[in-house]
Each structure stands twice: as C-alpha cells, then as structure tokens.
C-alpha cells in the first residue's frame, strides 16, 4: 500500500521521458484507449455543508451561488471569467450568482490540448506519422494529468467538458424540479437560475433545488445549447476578477500573508552554471531580525544562490548586501552574445539542418529568370519581466507535509517538484495558486519553487516567502531564444513566389525546458515544433519550399515567451514577404492576398484589416503604413501599423487589428488580449534586448530593459471575425506575432530602409 505511491511517481517520470522522445510504447494500451471521464467529481474536490457538487466543475450552494471550478490560472487573460461563463451559459444560471474558485490540483483538470498542439506537423498533414504523433501527445497529456495554462489553449481544452458539465447540471436540476412538482421535465422552463412550471405557476430557484439535484446521477448524454441561443457567450461580459483588482484586495502570490512567516532575499550566481565558492555571512547574521544565512546548490531547474531569511523582506535584503560571496564562475564565464550571434550567422550558410517542411522542388524552381530575393534576420534574447517579481511561499512541516503558495502556470509541476525537493510523496503537498502578476510563459518554471522548498526544508515548520528582486528576475530568466534566419525566394516574371527557402538557427525552448525538468529525458531526437512554428506551417501557397532549423545548445536557459516561436518567426517571414512584394513591385496587401489563394478564411482577415485601416487611401504626410499577418494557436491575426518619426524617435501612432478566433466567447476580452499582445510585442520590437558579457546578463532592471509606456502606446482598433465554432482558437498569444513586422514594414514605407534585426534602431 505505501509502496505504490513512489512507484506511481516513477512511472509518471518514465512516461514523460517516453513522450518527449516521441514514443507511446511504454504506455499501457488500456489507459491509452480509455475515454477520459471529464464529468465525475474527482476526490480532491471538496464542498462545504451548504454546497452540492454537480459534476467536477460545479458547486451549487443552497443560497443559489454557482461556484465554477477553474483549473486554469488567471494571469490577465480573463480565463476565470471566460470559463465560468461557459458553464453559466449551459446551465442557464443567473450570471450575478456565478463565482469562480481555483480548482484543486488533480489530473481530472489536466490540459491535454497543450501537448496535442505541440507536434511539428502542418495542420493539413494527415499522414499516419502526423496523426499518430497528435493522438500520442494528446493521450500523453491526459495521462500525465498536468494542469497547465499556456499555449492559448484554455478555452479550446475546456470548451466541450465545461459546456457538458453545465448542461449536465441543468439536467440534474430539471429532474429534481420535475420530481418535486410532480410533472414531466419537458413541461418545465429554465432561465436565469429559476425553473418554472408555467401551467401550475410552480417555481424554484437553483439554490432551492440544490440538495435534490445532487442526488440525481450525472447524465452522460446531454444536449448542448444551439449556439444561436447563447445569451451570455458571444457578448461582452464584465470580468469577475476586476473588482478586487481596483481596490488592492486581489491576492497575488507575493501577497501571501500568514502569521509568523519569514521572508527570504536571494542572490544567484551571476554567471550561468556557476556555484558558491565561499561566503562570509558574519555581518549579515548579526543584523537584528535575521534568522539565517546560507547557500543553496544549483539544481537542473535553479541556479546556485545565497539566501538570507529574516523577519521582514527589507531586513533580508539589506542583510544580503552585507554578505560577501565568492563565486565559482564555472565554464561559462567567457560567454558572450556577440560571439554567439557571429556563430549563428555563419550557420545560416553552412552545416546541417533539420527539415521541418519540404514541398515541390526548390532547386528546379530557382532555375527561372525572375527575381531573386535574399535576406538575413536576427532577434536577440528577451526577458519576460512579469510585473510581479518571481516569488514563492513554502513550508515543510515536520509531520511530513509541504504547503506551497505560488502564482504559477502549472500547479501540477509545482506539486511534483515541491515533493521531490522536500523528499515527500506528492500526495503530501498542497499547492495554492493565487493570481499571477503576469505569466507570459515565465511562470511555467519551477526554479523559485525548488529554491523556496529547499529553504523551507532547512527551516522546518517555518513559513518562508522567497522574493527575487527585479535584478534577479532579469538576470536569471529563461529567455526567448536568440535566433538568426535566412530567407531566399525566387519570383517568376509575374511576381509569383516560385521558390521559398528558410533556415532558422536557434536553441529549442522545449529542449531547454525538458533538460531542466527531466535531465534524463533530454534528447534532440524529437523536433521541437516551437523553433519553427510560424515558419513551416504557413497558410501561404508556396509550392516549392524548404523550411529547416539548426538546433543550438547554449548555457543560457531559454523558455516559452508569449507566442513562443511565432513571435520571432513572424518577424522573419512577414518582413521577408514584404521584401518579396517590393521586389515584385506589388502592393503588400495584394501580394499577400495572392499568396492566400488557398485560404479564404485567412484572406478575409487580411481584407478586413486593410479595409478598416483605410489601406487604399494614402496615410497622412510623414506617416508610414505597414501590414503583417500571422496565424498562431489556431487563430488568425492581421495588423496594420502606422508609424512616424519625430525628433529622431520612432512612434507607432495607430494599430488596426483584425482577428479570427472562430468564436469570440467574450468579445471584450478578445479586444483586451489583442491590445495587450500588441503592446507586449511592440515593447520587444522597440526596446527588447538581453545581452550577455563574461557570462553575465547585462540588463538588470527597467531602466536598462525599457518598456512601452502610456505615452508611447499606440491607439489600437480591434475588429473580430466570428468564422464559426469549428475554428475555435486561442486568444492570449496570437496578437503578438504580427506587430514587429507590421511596424518594420511601415518604417520601410516611411524611410525606404529595411529593419532586419531587432530591436529597431533607426
């Protein structure tokens, strides 16, 4: 009995390893083929005495409150409100009585879609290999049971089960009402949380029926609403998380406050891969309020560091400045990003690469007598710089348990890594995930969790909140990869693209993350889709094409950064498409429209943005207008940027954006996410650059890693295309990829100069 848990854990680790190298062989056939139950409440779901559990997603209180279990983390994208609304719609609940609650960490709530999306095959590729990979990845996602928020997958993953849960709860309530009123179910009507029998005038609220409804078995077959009858979805709805975010009451991880807790400040080795050689903490230890000063070793997920634990954060921080530390800088003390860039640029023209997509005959197509276009592009490392500095609160209790509070995109990983660090079974770990003060991919990492639990383990029964300074955050991020790219095209006499070759040189985010989480499973065997997404899977008609990637390994850790590979590949591809249009003497929108001849949905988005931006009327004097287009996370986004230069400073004055995410569940959130993603991408295009000298990141805080601010934020107009539920796509990330190329293409119109390296330098 007691031995089964560790074995389970080991098996899980094996499964991840197996999955990451692309094989499903280690997986039992029964579990593979079993349909996942996404309705029955998991044991981890707890209810109070006044609450009835109606499926694993809904608790109904006798006072009528509907509490939706939301297993995705709120980091600004509005997910808690969107998911709660989906349930409310199918239930016909009174939206004023709908609340949300952080779901417990349980495989029931796992996000399988995120892994299902991660295969390096074009969408139309229905080959056995592609299909096998998709199914395997999705099934793997189900079996690993990782609760995670990312890849713009939340709505797509939850859409069916949460609608089903709402409909099932509604059916249970109807059956309870029918029994109470002594009538048939079809004689009843439901609206706004009230069930009525019009003929007799009998009525009951959901709250009044809660207890009886809880006794009805969960129906497996329920009819979902015809979307034409949606009353909440598809219309702007106020977000549930906004009231606490305007009065200071919203609790982020860093706001965790428990009586008797201590605070820890940290300095990590400034050189990647280094360690602590010696430290003198005498002075720091003597400071009033300091509990302990010690060093913690590097792990596969976290850097070696010196930590001060004190009664208050400021004491810890002040004492940390008094610790004298000698670092063993290790093998990367000479690492330099300028030299790295040179290496990458050399590899654009020599050496092996892995092909992500190939069609037609590139060499033969190049033989014509049309124009040739070639261009090299470059993007630097980027930091996430979430507004809430990285932090984690933890306690390891002598009774053999661990509790962790952390704003995190993958609570399941928090649980596993806290357990491993504390040397406990994961069933002994409780994870609380308050609001995230920004995620953008940074909060997939478990570095701070491992460090906090190491500290808590040393100081058993003491609750410690570890806070990284902004400087620690910026110098110990997992960065968006540096990448170099070469594009070559041949155009025929009519300006059609007859040959397209693209080579990208970069590290792999997925490989880097795997090496951190599971060093033993790290392998280059499987291609990481994210290196080449947005480059190999284009909707453009390119009959003769090769898209290839050169995989690099560097001591700088890289990670997922809002829209991941798309954010850089859209810059490469869309800048180059613009160069091809110019070489062909064609209008950039018309040129793209022709390339989208096989993609009517995509064409519509491009045509809409052109129309709304007034593309066919000249911009005001001194203003350049540029367009870019990108499909990512199953959504299609086109943007037109208008730029001007005043006193030598580039200013983006206006961005017009069109988006097709299939169906805008909450259109106001779609607009907000486009606005957000555009500003995020614009910050990268205008300012973002992380450089490394002597193994150390040179930027350390906002003054040296600047942000777009109110004064430099453009006016943004967003237009939504609802092409249908069958095209449901993500919304948190797809707004970011097109903005950098749209701005650079606009700048070309204005100045005649191409920007081929970011950030933009005039």
């Amino acid at each position: 009995m007691t031995s089964s848990a560790p074995r389970n854990k080991r098996r899980r680790v094996l499964l991840i390893g197996a999955g990451l190298v692309g094989g499903a062989l280690a997986i039992g056939a029964y579990r593979f083929y079993r349909e996942r139950d996404r309705l029955s409440p998991p044991r981890a779901l707890r209810a109070t005495a006044s609450e009835t559990v109606l499926t694993g997603w809904i608790k109904l209180s006798t006072d009528g409150t509907v509490t939706v279990q939301v297993p995705r983390q709120e980091m600004g994208q509005g997910v808690v409100s969107t998911l709660a609304l989906i349930v409310a719609e199918e239930m016909d609940a009174d939206p004023a009585l709908v609340r949300f609650e952080e779901a417990p960490v349980d495989p029931f709530y796992a996000n399988a879609t995120i892994l299902g999306d991660a295969v390096p095959f074009r969408a139309e590729d229905m080959s056995t290999l592609a299909q096998m990979n998709r199914v395997t990845q999705f099934k793997l996602g189900e079996m690993l049971g990782i609760q995670t928020t990312g890849g713009s997958t939340s709505v797509r993953d939850a859409w069916h089960p949460m609608r089903q849960a709402g409909a099932a709860a509604r059916a249970m309530l109807l059956q309870a009402a029918a029994a109470r009123f002594g009538v048939t179910r079809d004689a009843l009507t439901v609206a706004n949380g009230v069930i009525e029998h019009k003929a007799s005038g009998k009525r009951a609220t959901f709250g009044e029926l809660a207890v009886e409804a809880g006794k009805v078995p969960i129906p497996r077959e329920v009819e979902l609403k015809d979307p034409a009858r949606f009353v909440l979805l598809g219309k702007p709805q106020p977000r549930l998380d906004i009231p606490p975010k305007v009065d200071g009451s919203a609790r982020f991880g860093i706001d965790t406050r428990i009586p008797g807790m201590y605070f820890a400040a940290i300095t990590q080795c400034p050189v990647f891969g280094g360690s602590v050689a010696a430290l003198d903490a005498a002075k720091a230890k003597a400071r009033k309020g300091v509990l302990d000063v010690f060093d913690i070793p590097a792990t596969s997920t976290s850097a070696a560091a010196v930590v001060v634990v004190a009664e208050h954060y400021w004491i810890a921080r002040a004492a940390l400045a008094e610790v004298s530390i000698r670092w063993n800088e290790g093998p990367n003390a000479g690492f330099d990003t300028d030299a790295q860039r040179e290496r990458y640029e050399q590899l654009l023209g020599q050496g092996d690469a892995r092909v992500y997509d190939r069609a037609g005959d590139v060499a033969a197509a190049q033989g014509g007598n049309g124009k040739r276009v070639t261009a090299d592009y470059f993007v630097p490392y980027l930091a996430h710089a979430t507004m809430e500095p990285i932090n984690c609160t933890a306690v390891v209790r002598s009774a053999g348990s661990c509790e962790v509070w952390v704003g995190h995109q993958a609570p399941t990983l928090v649980k596993w890594f806290a357990a491993r660090t504390a040397n406990l079974d994961s069933s002994r770990v409780t994870v609380h995930t308050p609001y995230l003060g920004g995620g953008f991919g940074r909060r997939f990492e478990v570095d701070v969790v491992v460090q906090a639990v190491m500290i808590a383990k040393r100081l058993t029964d003491t609750l410690v909140q570890l806070i990284w300074s902004r400087e620690e955050d910026m110098t110990h991020d997992v960065y968006r990869p540096m990448a170099a790219s070469r594009l070559r095209a041949a155009l025929d006499a009519d300006g059609n693209v007859v040959s397209w070759q693209h080579r990208i040189v970069s590290q792999s985010c997925t490989g880097s993350l795997t090496a951190r989480l599971l060093p033993m499973a790290a392998s280059d065997l499987m291609k990481d889709k994210t290196t080449s997404e947005g480059a190999f899977d284009l909707a453009y008609a390119l009959p003769n094409r090769v898209v290839e990637h050169v995989l690099m390994h560097e001591p700088i850790p890289v990670g997922y950064w809002r829209s991941v590979g798309h954010s850089l590949n859209a810059f490469f591809v869309e800048s180059f498409v613009d160069e091809c249009a110019a070489a062909a003497g064609k209008d950039p929108v018309a040129f793209r429209t022709a390339l989208l001849r096989d993609a009517p949905r995509h064409r519509k988005v491009l045509e809409l943005v052109a129309e709304k931006a007034g593309w066919n009327t000249p911009p005001p004097a001194g203003v350049g207008r540029g367009v870019a287009f990108a499909e990512s996370f199953h959504s299609i986004v086109a943007q037109v940027a208008e730029v001007e230069i005043s006193n030598g400073v580039l200013r983006v004055r206006r961005v017009v954006c069109a988006v097709d995410c299939g169906f805008a569940v909450n259109p106001d959130i779609v607009v907000a996410q486009m606005e957000s993603a555009i500003v995020f991408g614009l910050t990268a295009a205008l300012h973002g650059e992380i450089t490394v000298k002597a193994g150390r990141v040179e930027q350390s805080n906002f003054p040296s890693y600047e942000m777009v601010r109110l004064a430099s934020a453009p006016r943004i107009e967003v237009h939504i295309v609802n092409s249908g539920l069958e095209h449901l796509g993500g919304i948190g990330e797809p707004g970011t990829p097109p903005i950098a190329p749209a701005v650079c293409n606009a700048l070309f119109k204005l100045t005649g100069k191409r920007i081929r390296s970011l950030p933009i330098r005039l």
Binding site: A250, M387, A672
Partner: protein
Amino acid sequence: MVSFVINGNAVEVDVDPDTPLLWVLRDHLGLTGTKFGCGVAACGACTVHLDDRPVRSCVMPVSACAGKRVATIEGLRQGDRLHPIQQAWVDAQAPQCGYCQSGMIMAAVALLRANASPSDADIDAAITNVCRCGTYARIRRAVHAAAANMKKARGEE
C-alpha cells in the same frame, strides 16, 4: 519608531528608519495592495500618496514620512462605494493581470486632484508607470471618463 497617518489613521512603526515605505506598508501594516515591481522607482507599481502627492514608495525611506499623511489603494474606497476613478477602471474593464493597477490608480487619482480635466499629453506626462499587460489604452479612457464623471458629480458639466 516612526509615526505617520495611514489612510486617515495614526500609526507608529518600529523599523529601521531607512526601510522603504513600500515594505513598511506591505510587511508591517498588512497593506499588500501596494506592489513591489522594481525597487528603483522605475515602474510605479508602488505608487502611493504622501501628503496628497504621488510618490514611489519603494525608494521612499519611511523616516521621510514622519508626521505626514500616507494614502494607499486600500484607503480610496468611499464607504461602500468605489472612488469614481476605481469605478471608471471597472467600467473600462482596464485591469488584466492587475498587478500594476494599484499604482496606476493612485497615479491617476493624484493627476485628477491636480488637474480636473487632463489632456492626453497631461496623462502621458503624469502616468509613467509600467503595465506589462499593455492596458494603457483603457487606462487613458478610464482617466478621461473619471474626469468627466467627477465634473458631473460636482455639477460643473
């Protein structure tokens, strides 16, 4: 010991006088609505009011607050009702992750106190805080709306 008035109530805190006001608020007074963002006065997440003027509390030693009035986001609500600026924020659905919003709101309150009908340029100059979610357009809209509503409430139209 440093004494000052916080959201209308007198307090006395026993801390090193060099401690930044931010950490006194968060760790000694339990007022976690004011946020730590950068520690170098570069992002504005920690904006509070010192005698009605906006200050970045992460670099403001608490000793500089002795005998003065400090106001934080927690003190903005007027009884059960949101401050008109908070209401404008809700109406504009401005916050996303929300982490920077306390500082943004405090900067906006200070701006409207000094300038009842700010222009876009006035807003640009007064609100220099960082929002990583890019809520700037909605913040601008909310400031204008709050200015209009506050004028209306004063009967100025």
